[in-house]
């Protein structure tokens, strides 16, 4: 073994070692890069949001520019629309998830539905808004809270289908077989045994769906529109927190921008809180 060959090999190894170290440092930098944005966004949201928060934010209604006011009607409107959308979308999502997991899992309908569902899951939400506009708003010639409910329900359904199906598939077959052996009809096996066993996961899915629609703005832009006053009538345009934030943030008025930050803080709090709650629920199952 000549010394030249040995040195060449050492040099090559040194080069490989250097490439490796550079790559690993870069990957650490990438991780810090990602975390940096998360912390910066959260920090700014908390700093600017808490500054704009006051008791008035929850008790007074959206004001005219340069007047004192709050976000009460927007919060109430968002709460109504999100709750109703969850009530409408969840049963449909769970039933479809049950079909995908329990009935004819490999059939053509199930495969096609899974494919379509994954596309709808990531489809642009503004297109969903356009669809509901074309079907509901232009037929009834008015923006309404119900149109907003429908648009958000269409976003809830794919999320719930995906999580329900995944959770039901994790239930061991032995449970189902034992129930059948005891003579239970299929629908009882599904509702009383399988769904019960997957309960935590399904609830998690619903929580994640709620977290997702709580922050959605685009589908509400041309369905529920917006409303400057308190409104409990779902067939009229309704205020919602995200749309109000959109309107206030793009404006040049100081008080509107402050209220927008407060709204952003509230939404982030709700969404992240729901996500963390969902994570805690699934972690205990492991």
């Amino acid at each position: 073994m000549s010394a030249v060959l040995h040195n060449a090999r050492l040099a090559k190894f040194a080069w490989r070692k250097l490439t490796n170290q550079v790559a690993l440092v870069l990957s650490l930098a990438a991780m810090s890069f990602g975390l940096f944005w998360l912390f910066w966004i959260l920090f700014e949201t908390i700093r600017l949001g808490v500054g704009g928060l006051a008791v008035a934010t929850f008790t007074q209604m959206t004001p005219a520019p340069n007047e004192v006011g709050g976000l009460a009607n927007a919060i109430y409107g968002s709460f109504l629309i999100v709750t109703m959308a969850t009530f409408v979308g969840t049963p449909i999502g769970i039933m479809a998830g049950i079909y995908l997991a329990e009935y004819d899992t490999d059939g053509w309908l199930a495969t096609l539905t899974r494919f379509v569902n994954d596309i709808l899951l990531s489809a642009p939400s503004i297109v969903i808004g356009l669809f509901v506009y074309a079907v509901v708003v232009s037929q009834f010639k008015s923006y309404s809270g119900w149109a907003g409910v429908m648009a958000l329900a269409l976003i809830v359904i794919p999320v719930v289908i995906r999580t329900t199906e995944n959770m039901l598939q994790l239930v061991p077959s032995g449970l189902r077989e034992a129930a059948y052996a005891l003579g239970a009809p299929k629908w009882k096996v599904i509702t009383k045994i399988t769904l019960r066993a997957a309960r935590a996961g399904v609830v998690t899915g619903i929580l994640l769906a709620v977290a997702r629609i709580a922050g959605e703005t685009a589908p509400l832009l041309f369905t529920a529109l917006n409303n400057q006053f308190w409104n409990s009538d779902m067939s009229q345009p309704m205020a919602s927190l995200p749309v109000t934030i959109f309107k206030f943030a793009m404006s040049p008025y100081e008080n509107w921008q402050q209220l927008a930050w407060a709204g952003v803080f509230l939404i982030t709090l709700a969404v992240l809180g729901l996500n963390i709650l969902a994570r805690i629920l699934t972690r205990n199952k492991d």
Binding site: L28, T113, I119, A134, N166, L208
Partner: protein, 343 residues
């Protein structure tokens, strides 16, 4: 588990195709005995819910085409290459918006792909076991933040900082250079295609990183250990063993991120400037994307050609995202086929 991010189907149940869980269906199939009525009704309701999903997609397509029909008949495919957008003279063309959407998504991918790869590499190879979970959660929280938060933060916090520390120095440095200077020539105020692209990148990083991490973890340990046994460094294992094995999944994840970036509305609307122009290709100039045009103009668009043109844009966007997402599903499914097979 976050279902806003793509989840792989539970591999345990999927792989054994030959045992179709026969016992999970009712033991006596329909031929011998009629199931009781509640059983059948329940089955119909479940099947109907699945059909509803299909009709939903179909309904979206049909209603978009119907709404855009006036514009489709008037312009045909020329709509995609014309850049006039004049509500006063009732002349419309979608090139400005399509360019804005494509340019911002391209910049977003340019930034997001290497960063996501680095994050996935860190999470799978470098992080100690106790750190993997919290870091993974933190990255997934980035995905959970609503897009309107990104938009507001981008406009009011990030934009000014981008203007002072990035755009103005770039303009001073490259302003006079003949070709590059055109890219950096617009007003450096922190809005425009560059800002929108950067914010989109931050939004899609968690999607791409999470898919990449999932597919990296699926590589058979035997392959990696053999490479290590032959003396490879960590980087060589990842670049020469893991990446080629998972390339379909990686591309699938990238296309998923692209699909998300194309359809993102609020974050883009806040920072893109909403200016229908294509005169300058500068990254700093305000522009418009399909989603921001829809968000800004649709509520006040007059019935007739203006609305139809906007719906035509929505149809184009839906079509593009449909194709991208379908391709992503196909690529990810290809990787799932390898799971559980002998290597």
């Amino acid at each position: 588990m976050s279902s806003t991010l793509p989840a792989r189907s539970a591999p345990i149940q999927r792989q054994a195709k030959d045992e179709k869980r026969n016992m999970s269906n009712s033991p006596l199939p329909n031929s011998r005995r009629q199931s009781a009525l509640p059983d059948r009704v329940f089955g119909w309701v479940a099947k109907g819910a699945a059909f509803l999903t299909l009709t939903l997609l179909f309904g979206i397509l049909v209603s978009l085409v119907y709404g855009a029909w006036p514009a489709i008949t008037k312009y045909g495919l020329g709509f995609l290459t014309s850049s006039t957008w004049d509500p006063v003279k009732n002349e419309y063309g979608g090139l400005v918006m399509i360019y804005g959407t494509v340019a911002t998504s391209f910049i977003a991918l340019l930034i997001a792909i290497p960063v996501s790869f680095g994050i996935a590499l860190f999470l799978t190879e470098l992080a100690p076991a106790w750190l993997k979970r919290p870091l993974g959660t933190a990255i997934e929280l980035l995905a959970a933040v609503p897009s309107i938060v990104y938009g507001m933060w981008g406009l009011l916090v990030f934009g000014p900082i981008l203007a002072t520390y990035v755009q103005q120095p770039l303009q001073r440095a490259f302003g006079e250079v003949p070709v590059l200077g055109a890219l950096f020539s617009g007003p450096p105020v922190g809005i425009g295609i560059l800002s929108a692209g950067i914010i989109l990148a931050i939004m899609i990083i968690p999607f791409i990183a999470s898919v990449m991490r999932d597919v990296f973890e699926v590589t058979p340990p035997l392959l990696k250990e053999s490479a290590y046994a032959l003396g490879s460094t960590t980087w060589e294992v990842v670049s020469k063993v893991v990446l080629p094995y998972t390339k379909a999944g990686v591309v699938g994840g990238i296309m998923l991120g692209l699909g998300r970036a194309l359809g993102e509305t609020m974050a883009v609307t806040f920072v893109i400037g909403n200016f229908n122009q294509l005169d300058s290709l500068s990254l700093f100039q305000a522009a418009n994307s399909i989603t921001s045009a829809l968000a800004n103009e649709f509520p006040e668009a007059g019935e007739g050609l203006h609305q139809a043109a906007l719906i035509y844009l929505g149809l184009v966007l839906f079509f593009i995202t449909f194709v991208v997402l379908a391709l992503s599903k196909v690529m990810l499914a290809q990787l799932n086929k390898h799971e559980g097979t002998k290597t």
